[in-house]
């Protein structure tokens, strides 16, 4: 009687648990169904950024899979408003709603990135200088270590600071060069622009060559954020 009573008592709980499990399974399969559908909606993006945002070609276009959603959304928004310039990106995004851009950013943020080692000369003399800049920064130039903002493992900090790994050296140096000349901007105060302007082109090349030589770790996810303290004031994390 006692046992039966307990079981009777527990039945609703079991039913509830079973329902939860079923709901979870459904949402998991729905999610991947959603992602399949999103991939179809976004073939326009895949033609440069690769399937599911994994650009592994020898081209300039960056991988966007696994980057933090807040960062991706900010970039999409910048292109739409003409703050970040690229004829094709601006044209593609001109008439997409905030909601859709957010959904696109979240879709790419949950994709798994893939790393293809870049073909760098083995004994690149710049790599040592690059390692120093990336790990320690250069106090004389007022340049902090990259890890101070982009995460100890350089995989970024959610939701707005992007990881730096898995990107081609041409892309990385292209972006820093654009920041140095003002062609690329972020929300003010633009800490990345300040740093890029404090570094010489040779230093930018050294740092980006070193970053591009690092493998993408097994766990590519950005660190939990938002970051508590940064060496510079940055508009993107406000």
């Amino acid at each position: 009687m006692e046992a039966a009573g307990t079981l009777m008592h527990r039945t609703p709980l079991l039913v509830l648990l079973a329902l939860c499990a079923a709901a979870l399974t459904v949402s998991a399969s729905e999610q991947s169904q959603d992602d399949l559908e999103m991939a179809e909606r976004l073939v326009a993006c895949a033609s440069c950024h690769g399937e599911a945002g994994r650009s592994n070609s020898e081209t300039y276009f960056p991988s966007i899979a696994g980057k933090p959603a807040g960062y991706l959304y900010a970039q999409l928004e910048h292109y739409r408003a003409g703050r970040r310039r690229h004829q094709i990106m601006e044209g593609l995004l001109a008439n997409l709603s905030d909601e859709y851009l957010r959904e696109i950013a979240e879709y790419y943020a949950r994709q798994q990135p893939k790393w293809t080692p870049p073909s760098l000369p083995e004994a690149d003399a710049r790599l040592e200088r690059g390692r120093k800049l990336v790990d320690d920064g250069d106090p004389e130039l007022g340049v902090p270590s990259c890890r101070a903002c982009h995460g100890e493992r350089l995989t970024g900090i959610a939701p707005t600071i992007p990881g730096l790994l898995g990107l081609r050296p041409e892309y990385l140096s292209g972006q820093l060069g654009a920041w140095r000349t003002g062609a690329r901007r972020a929300a003010s105060p633009d800490c990345m622009a300040e740093i890029a302007q404090r570094l010489s082109p040779a230093d930018l090349g050294a740092a980006t060559a070193y970053i591009a030589s690092l493998p993408l770790p097994e766990d590519h996810h950005p660190a939990e954020g938002p970051p508590t303290s940064l060496p510079l004031e940055c508009g993107v994390v406000e």
Partner: protein, 420 residues
């Protein structure tokens, strides 16, 4: 009268006639316009907002990435650039110091509060048809916006188009303040459509060919036009002069959602659907279509400089067919049938078969998304092919789709693609 005197008198008469012709649009403008009281009731503001959407004020009066209605956007014309102005209620740089009468003078007479004649990049040849009541409602809405400081940018027009005289001549040639007389023979819906298309919608401004001085020949109105600077063609609005009910229903859906069974909007029309048309009521969209389907047929396109014959183009077509199969057929179908409301069909699509392939080339090379709208919030996109197809390959596949599945349009050359 002696001969010299007669010559003098004739010359004076000619000058007087020219001066009064020149001043004609100004003579139709009363010196005093009554300022109606500014009604800032919620109902009036909401009405004004709707009408401002229908006029797509925000489209030109907002710079890319700038504050809405604060102006500063460059409007490209064949005569140089003019910049849209700040129409937020900022008293210094906007229209905060204006009255309903000042606003009506700008809309109906094309003249600013300070007395300057306005450049017709502000489409007052169309807005002149907007009623005083609607003009007042739009003004009330604008006055309800947050003021933004954004100073006027001087136009950068070439000589002689930068002179006041040139503007006066233009107005004498092409502008008369007017009201739109309803056509008693037609129903209320058609008349509402005429008011929206001819007036607030200012559809004519893009969808008509313009002469060398930038004027529109009324007989050629809505026969399609080229957008200066933008690199797009505005197609004729009623190319065949007739429209079946099914085609009319498709057009209504295209205007309110950006996509129909047959096609999708792209380029500047995608902007118009995004910022303006998707916000209009079904009744107003229906009225616009009811009017558009009664517009006269576009004059036939001039015969192509490059007549098509399958024999001469055998190699091009074979190359084009291969590219089509490999890169296009997955979405647009083996026979150009597409997938309704997702991937536009290419067979029978007017964007594909337009006499000028400009829009088609831009769609293929630059890709694009139709606008996010209430009816199509998450549009499917067309990939850009500029990085994947050389000019010759692009020309081959475009020639293939323009001449297959019943399509019958002139071929595209590599030069066309490079010029896009």
């Amino acid at each position: 009268m002696s001969k010299p005197l007669r010559i003098l008198a004739a010359a004076a008469a000619l000058i007087a006639a020219f001066a009064s012709w020149l001043a004609w649009p100004d003579l139709l403008e009363p010196a005093d316009i009554e300022a109606t009281p500014l009604d800032l009731s919620a109902e009036r503001i909401a009405r004004g907002e709707y009408l401002a959407r229908a006029g797509n004020c925000i489209g030109c009066h907002t710079a890319p990435g700038g504050a809405p209605f604060a102006g500063g956007r460059a409007i490209r014309t064949p005569f140089g650039d003019v910049y849209s102005t700040n129409i937020t209620p900022d008293p210094e740089t906007g229209i905060g110091g204006w009255t309903t009468a000042d606003f009506w003078r700008a809309m109906h007479h094309g003249r600013s509060k300070d007395g300057r004649r306005l450049y017709p990049a502000f489409p007052y040849p169309s807005y002149t048809y907007v009623t005083r009541e609607d003009s007042d409602a739009i003004f009330a809405y604008l006055m309800s916006l947050p003021p933004v400081s954004s100073p006027r940018i001087e136009p950068a027009l070439r000589f002689p188009y930068n002179s006041r005289f040139a503007l006066q001549v233009w107005r004498a040639l092409y502008f008369r303040p007017a009201e739109l007389e309803p056509d008693a023979e037609r129903g209320e819906t058609w008349n509402r459509g005429a008011y929206l298309v001819e007036g607030l919608g200012h559809c004519k401004a893009c969808h008509s060919p313009r002469g060398r001085l930038g004027g529109i020949d009324p007989d050629a109105a809505y026969a399609g036009g080229r957008l200066p600077g933008a690199g797009w063609e505005a197609p004729p609005l009623n190319p065949a002069g007739t429209m079946t009910d099914a085609e009319a229903a498709d057009l209504a859906r295209l205007l309110s959602t950006g996509i129909s069974k047959r096609t999708a909007v792209s380029g500047p029309m995608a902007d118009v659907v995004f910022t303006s048309l998707q916000h209009l009521s079904d009744d107003d969209i229906g009225a616009i279509v009811a009017y558009v389907r009664t517009l006269p047929a576009a004059p036939p396109a001039p015969a192509s400089r490059r007549p098509f014959s399958p024999d001469r183009y055998r190699d091009v077509l074979a190359a084009g067919a291969t590219i089509y199969r490999e890169r296009c057929a997955d979405c647009h179908g083996r026979n150009g049938e597409g997938k309704p409301y997702v991937y536009p069909p290419l067979a029978g699509n007017r964007l594909v078969t337009a006499p000028e392939p400009t829009n088609l080339i831009r769609n293929v090379m630059l890709g694009g998304f139709p606008p996010s709208t209430h009816g199509n919030p998450r549009p499917y996109g067309m990939p850009p092919f500029a990085h994947q197809l050389g000019a010759a390959d692009a020309a081959a596949v475009l020639t293939y789709i323009r001449t297959s599945w019943g399509n019958d349009a002139p071929p595209v050359t590599a030069d066309d693609v490079e010029r896009r």
